[in-house]
């Protein structure tokens, strides 16, 4: 028993070291911009760079639109599948997993071929169109996370009975989704939203190949040309992702408690 406990701690320590040592090393390196002393100079340079502000703002806006698009597609779809088409769930789950299997570069080349300026849907013919296509691409990349988060949220409530209870009280579909389903899966939706945010902020392939001024390509560009700033940016990106995860944890405490479990 004691020996098992010892090895459990050893495993934990090795795992933690594997995770934290590169992070600490990166952080330490990012502090060494000024010769001989530790300083936050690299961070000052990064935050003061107008390209950082522009690309970060661009990615934040793209993330917000991606979240809106994802919620509009995933929530009604996941709800309807649970309510009326449960036999389609395995198929839909498989489809939502495809973005994890198909590399982003394949998806984006597909987009370029499908939506080029000579195609019937010339998204790539203008900057605005390309932005729209980028958001659609991001929504695809985030689909596995958003769908699973929403589906897990729906699993905690009795979707069918709550829907029928609302229907018999006179509610139409809009009222049911807005006043009954959404509030009860809001925390799950927010979890999906923050995961989406984290993915969009760090995404490189799509933004780069579609030539959009996003944060991912900026990170790559800085990484290729500077010494200390990339380390600072890596820490910043990491802090943003962890911040998102922490918010999910905090929000999950406010999830509505199910009252549908009989005594």
């Amino acid at each position: 028993m004691k020996s098992g406990r010892f090895w459990a701690w050893v495993t934990f320590a090795v795992g933690a070291a594997y995770f934290f040592i590169p992070l600490i090393a990166t952080f330490e390196f990012s502090m060494r911009m000024r010769r001989g002393v530790y300083s936050f100079d690299a961070y000052t340079v990064v935050f003061g760079d107008p390209r950082f502000q522009a690309t970060f703002a661009y990615s934040v806006v793209a993330a917000v639109f991606t979240i809106i698009l994802g919620v509009l597609i995933v929530v009604p779809a996941a709800y309807w599948i649970r309510l009326r088409l449960p036999h389609l769930r395995p198929i839909v789950e498989f489809i939502t997993l495809l973005p994890l299997v198909i590399p982003a570069i394949v998806i984006v080349f597909g987009y370029i071929r499908m939506y080029g300026s000579n195609s019937p849907l010339p998204f790539l013919g203008s900057a605005a169109g390309t932005n729209v296509l980028l958001v659609i691409g991001y929504a695809t990349l985030a689909l596995p996370y958003m769908y699973r988060a929403v589906d897990t949220g729906l699993r905690t409530i009795d979707v069918r009975t709550l829907t029928e209870a609302a229907q018999i009280l006179g509610a139409g579909w809009t009222t049911i989704v807005a006043r009954v389903i959404m509030p009860n899966v809001l925390i799950a939706v927010l979890s999906g939203a923050f995961l989406t945010f984290a993915i969009v902020i760090g995404e490189f392939t799509m933004a780069s190949l579609l030539n959009r001024p996003a944060f991912g390509p900026y990170l790559q560009n800085i990484g290729a040309n500077r010494a200390y700033e990339p380390a600072a940016l890596a820490i910043i990106a990491f802090a943003i992702t962890w911040g998102c995860m922490s918010v999910i944890q905090v929000l999950s405490r406010f999830a509505p408690k199910s009252a549908n479990q009989p005594n």
């Binding site: 409530i157 609302a166 018999i168 006179g170 509610a171 408690k257």
Partner: protein, 354 residues
């Protein structure tokens, strides 16, 4: 019962090749409390869901208040419904849950608040308006579900096994409350249950269902005392069934084991040598001879169960066993297993099942 508020006319429902409800007809009077009673899978909930509008009949019609609602959506039918799993909205407080239907109907807030207060008083939870469903017990949640269902003043109330998820004590008290509220409001109610005691105790009429069909429709008294079919007789209440052979149709003589009983006028055209199933309720049988109970059968005490105020005795008669209850009297000890015993009953109380 003057008029028929709910009419279910020749309704049939099939799911693919399986027919779950066949040729179902029922008229429910205004203010009447009708229960659908039957085992799992008999189609009772399907009929209720068709009345609610959650399922569309394959054929037939459903008329509520003179209006054909067969193809109408559930939210256009003005029906209240209580579900087995409560189905309270977890994100809303008790008061908000009760007000949900009123808000959807566009009732002004002042009127809605007044109605919610009335409902909270009706279900005896006036202090619980600000609580969330998860803060209530099962019985309290179901009372809130009832209040939510009747708050918009529906003309028809559907109760889909509302007591099944509750413990026995709460079930009995809530059952009485539901009946009291239904009588007070005079609301036409259809109640689905598989619990015969529930159905017998609160219904004006009971529809006993089996295999997607209504086996019998009648008052609790009729259903219990004059079951129309073998299924109804077996399903409702405890029943002792004895196999008998007709020996003389003219005198009504039937041989049961080594004994003969006279069932004149009950043989319904049976011929000599026909085998009949004779059914008797436990309360129609006495241990030993009793005045007014002229028919007797001899047997042996097979089992004695002490249940407190009553003692359940099983007597072996031929190859059958007859169950009967006697009051527990501290002065006389219960019978002993293996003793010879005689049971008596009135031929009038025998149900001949064909």
């Amino acid at each position: 019962m003057t008029d028929h508020f709910l009419k279910i006319q020749s309704v049939r429902k099939s799911f693919g090749p399986t027919t779950v409800v066949q040729d179902f007809n029922l008229d429910v009077g205004t203010g009447e409390f009708v229960s659908f009673l039957g085992p799992s899978g008999c189609g009772k909930t399907t009929v209720l869901r068709m009345v609610a509008g959650f399922e569309e009949p394959t054929s037939g019609a459903i008329v509520i208040g003179g209006k054909d609602v067969t193809r109408l959506k559930p939210n256009q039918r003005n029906i209240g419904m209580v579900f087995q799993a409560y189905a309270l909205f977890p994100n809303l407080t008790v008061a908000q849950n009760i007000a949900f239907g009123l808000k959807v109907a566009g009732v002004p807030k002042a009127d809605s608040d007044k109605r919610v207060a009335e409902m909270l008083n009706l279900i005896k939870l006036p202090q619980f308006g600000d609580r969330y469903p998860y803060q209530l017990s099962g019985g309290q949640q179901q009372r809130v579900a009832l209040a939510r269902a009747i708050a918009p003043k529906p003309k028809l109330l559907l109760l889909d096994e509302p007591l099944s998820a509750l413990d026995a004590k709460v079930r009995v008290s809530l059952r009485d409350e539901i009946r009291a509220i239904q009588k007070e409001l005079g609301i036409t109610t259809v109640f689905v249950t598989h619990d015969q005691e529930e159905a017998l105790s609160i219904s004006d009429r009971i529809v006993v269902m089996y295999g997607g069909k209504a086996e019998q429709v009648g008052t609790p008294f009729e259903i219990y005392n004059r079951p129309a079919t073998k299924f109804v007789a077996n399903f409702v209440g405890t029943l002792n069934v004895l196999e008998g052979t007709v020996t003389d149709p003219s005198t009504g003589a039937v041989q049961v084991g080594a004994n003969s009983v006279m069932l004149k006028g009950k043989l319904n055209g049976s011929k000599a040598g026909d085998t009949l199933s004779l059914a008797l309720r436990p309360e129609a049988i006495s241990l030993g001879r009793q005045p007014g109970r002229d028919a007797t059968l001899g047997g042996e005490i097979a089992e004695v169960s002490f249940l407190g105020s009553v003692i359940r005795v099983r007597v072996g008669v031929g190859k059958d066993r007859v169950s009967l209850d006697t009051f527990n009297s501290p002065a006389s000890p219960p019978p002993t297993v293996g003793d010879k015993a005689e049971i008596s009953f009135s031929p009038e109380d025998v149900l001949v099942l064909h």
